[in-house]
């Protein structure tokens, strides 16, 4: 499934995204592979067309789930939060708080921004400890086929991550684990590109410091790891 996904970018009205407009009538490819003109697909989304939103959902479901997992852990109810992200997005569109724009990548960052906000709210509610606790729940995280060392590595990495402040942890997660671009990360967090770079640098430095003190991660850092 494609992760780039966005075919219409959304402009969140309170914070205008300065993007270049796609020429009207230009052709973009939807997630299902069908070809559609950009305005038509955007209009369908604007009218809350179920097929269009389902398409968007399928395209970005995994990404949203990944972002939310970085805050909430790998929980079965993660899907409720994903639904909440799209529900919020639809509400913003239906109430004209977000409107279409021409940037094809904008929708990804916009959905990521919504996911981060929802994740923060939810994480405050449930507490940070849940991030690590959920990893310890082996049945939730690891399929039976996953090697125990990999499971242990993830558990230790998330334990370290839980010790980072949120302003470092979230950009680190979006950039290194979800592979968002720096621009998308900045948009998702609502901060400048320079701020994201600075925070990422600080997060990397801190993560490495803590990883060197952790016997499992230290082994990977010194030996290059053995999970290829």
């Amino acid at each position: 499934m494609s992760r780039s996904g966005g075919h219409c970018a959304f402009m969140h009205v309170p914070r205008m995204l300065q993007v270049d407009a796609i020429p009207i009538g230009s052709t973009v490819h939807t997630a299902t592979g069908a070809t559609a003109s950009a305005p038509t697909f955007c209009e369908r989304l604007q009218r809350l067309d179920p097929d269009a939103w389902q398409c968007l959902y399928c395209d970005h479901r995994r990404l949203m789930r990944g972002i939310l997992a970085g805050h909430l852990g790998y929980r079965a109810e993660l899907d409720d939060a994903v639904q909440q992200v799209f529900e919020t997005a639809m509400l913003l569109v239906s109430r004209n708080r977000a409107r279409l724009s021409g940037d094809p990548s904008g929708v990804r960052a916009w959905l990521a921004a919504i996911a981060v906000r929802i994740a923060r709210t939810e994480a405050r509610r449930v507490g940070k400890a849940r991030l690590v606790d959920s990893v310890r729940d082996r049945d939730l995280v690891c399929p039976p086929s996953v090697e125990p060392e990999g499971y242990q590595l993830l558990e230790h990495a998330l334990s370290i991550l839980a010790r980072l402040p949120e302003r470092h942890r979230v950009p680190w997660w979006l950039r290194h684990i979800e592979h968002l671009t720096l621009e998308e990360t900045a948009t998702a967090l609502g901060v400048s590109l320079a701020t994201v770079k600075r925070r990422l640098q600080a997060a990397d430095r801190r993560f490495q410091e803590l990883a060197h003190r952790d016997h499992v991660l230290c082994e990977h850092l010194t030996q290059g790891g053995n999970h290829d």
Binding site: L48, P50, W53, Q54, Y57, R61, R62, R65, G66, A69, Y74, R75, A76, L78, D79, V82, Q83, Q84, F86, E87, M90, L91, S94, R95, L140, V141, C142, P143, V146, G150, Y151, L153, L154, A157, H176, I177, H179, D204, Q208, A211, L217, H220, L221, T222, G224, G225, H227
Partner: protein
Amino acid sequence: MTERAAYERLLVELARLHERAIERTLASGQPSLAPALARVRSRSVEQALDYQRFRRARRVLMPIAAIVACLGLYAYVMASRHPIAVVATPDPSIVAPRKVAVAASAVSKAADPCSTHVRAAGNQPLIDDFEDANSVVSDIERRVGFWSLFSDNVTLGDILPLTPQTRPNASRSNRYALHAKGPELRDWGAVVQVSFQPACYDASVYDGIEFSARGPGRLYVGVREVKVVPIKWGGTCEDRCYDAHQKKIDLTSQWRRYSVVWSELHQRSYDSAALDPTRVNGIAFLIQAGDTPFDLWLDDIKFVLHTTQASH
């Protein structure tokens, strides 16, 4: 392998493990967005209904608000052009100006209440003999007001008119008197009072005040000038109000007639001026907290004529 490369390798490994964990949870997830979409649509419908209600309400309320605003504006304009006039009847007891413009909006805080004062003619000194058995002062020489009892354990909103009661030794010609009775008080005491309306009464044609009273204890008979009454009650006082011109009277357990001339009344403050009887706001019979509990009878309250011999 450099440290940086090892770190990046670790990140790749973590991302791979995360991906597998996500795929694990993805299998149990909701594949459809239909429930969320249904919720959004229902909210949109509610939103639209709210807007419709708002529009309906606005359609009704806006004309009403416009009418009220127009009426208010019209009233304001009319009040400015044609002020409410208090026109005095051609009665010699009322001092000029005969026409006094008292536009409600034009009354300022510092306006002198005595610009509309009423002047006593000087031939009917009786203020009240209470034989009408009501709390309103006798309608003589355009004196208007009512008797009330106020004490330091009563809030302003609870002041009630003081109705005359049958005298202990009533006669056919003198049946009623004002009776004030109260418990021990701890602050400033109590007062039996009347305030004239309009707020300024010119009693300069008289020399003082006389009344019958019965104790026990003592009281201070006082005359309030406009300048000691707060602005909100029709006076001009802004600070240290209610310092009435007064004189102490020792009461006895028997009815006795007391007479006080203006020159015998003094304020408590050292720099007090003599009473100006042209600017009388009211009459007060004060009972200090030290003289409580009190049981006071008052009757036949009059101004003192020039010809009357002031005596105590």
